[in-house]
């Protein structure tokens, strides 16, 4: 007796989306397929209960290799569909025990989902992060190589350190003001915006801390304008390093219940 696979849900899209999933392989090596109900299409795939059942899932989520593989597969499927149709992406690990259960979700949430699809249609998410461009050489470079020898090495060190700290403080203040200006400008160009807490530079491969971590929902017809604005802002605000990622499926704009309004 073979075990029924669980149903992994990637995203929900409209009826027409069913054509864009044929043949893809998704999470856990399962084939991706459409599942229709209530005039909507859930993009789903079968996954093994032994790997994606409750207990296994909890354990596997803490395995970084597994998590990466799964997250990438989840994202790739959503992205493939999102290139063609508006989608409401599901959070990782949305799993049902049967097609019937997943279809039930579609029927139950049909109104919300349809509304979200309309709102997201023709729009994509763009991620913008701004890092404080603190360069240690900014302070160090200003130091005269020959410090007053009478003051002793201790005093010289303290003076150098003080100048360094002051420079960092100035750079940070300048960066924060710049980050606000950047956000205001990008906010203006987008249909909706979300601000996230800056990511910590714990084990930073970057020297500066993050001053802005934002997602913008931008009309596809304005994507070029948005991109140009980021480039221009980067040039204007030397205290920041900007990174732009996208277009993303609108992960940040589906809210907790898929009905989130544009502000």
């Amino acid at each position: 007796m073979t075990e029924n696979p669980c149903v992994w849900v990637y995203a929900v899209a409209d009826d027409a989306a069913s054509a864009f999933t044929a043949g893809s392989i998704g999470v856990g090596g399962g084939a991706v397929r459409p599942l229709s109900a209530a005039g909507l299409t859930a993009i789903v795939g079968g996954v093994a209960r032994s790997e994606f059942g409750e207990a296994a899932l909890r354990q596997n989520l803490e395995d970084l290799e597994w998590l990466e593989r799964t997250a990438r597969a989840h994202h790739e499927v959503i992205e493939t569909v999102a290139r063609e149709r508006p989608v409401v992406p599901m959070r990782l690990a949305t799993v049902y025990s049967s097609d019937e259960a997943a279809a039930g979700m579609l029927r139950e949430r049909a109104a919300d989902l349809r509304q979200a699809l309309i709102r997201l249609g023709g729009r994509s998410e763009w991620g913008v992060k701004a890092y404080v461009a603190i360069s240690d050489d900014r302070a160090d470079g200003q130091q005269p190589e020959t410090a007053d020898p009478s003051a002793g090495p201790g005093a010289a060190y303290l003076r150098r350190r003080r100048a360094q700290l002051a420079a960092h403080r100035d750079a940070r203040q300048e960066a924060m003001a710049s980050a606000q200006a950047v956000h205001a400008e990008l906010d203006r160009l987008s249909a909706s915006a979300r601000l996230y807490p800056p990511q910590s530079p714990t084990i930073a491969d970057r020297s500066g801390s993050m001053a802005l971590n934002a997602a913008y929902l931008v009309g596809d017809d304005r994507a070029e304008e948005f991109e140009a604005a980021v480039t221009e802002l980067a040039a204007r605000h030397g205290a920041l390093q900007l990174t732009l990622t996208g277009p993303w499926p609108a992960y940040s704009f589906v809210g907790q219940d898929g009905t989130e309004d544009a502000r």
Partner: protein, 128 residues
Amino acid sequence: MTYGNLAPPSSGTVRRSGVAGGPQAANLADILERVLDKGLVIAGDIRVNLLDIELLTIKLRLVIASLDTARQVGINWWESDPWLNAQAADRAAEKSRDQQELEEENRELRNRIEALESGGHNGGSRGD
């Protein structure tokens, strides 16, 4: 699709990870941040405890800026974090217990040496 310095080095830099450019282009931290923390939350009937995901998300948010780096340098944050891992918490508690016992022992030994050196017999009774 990464474009480097658009302006002189002293100015800002834009780097773009083109998600549309291919599946490999998006970095893991950005993907995890989105698929774990965002996206529509609908509890399937196979559930991971919401708390599990929340802790995972918080933890990820802390290290996400350089997840790849963390892995490269072999920082195993799942196992060593007492918050996420009960075993690690136990180990930490054990360690501080050991520490306490050591300090205790140290103090006792010092007292005995003092007593011996001063020629007194009070502290040395145990050695008889």
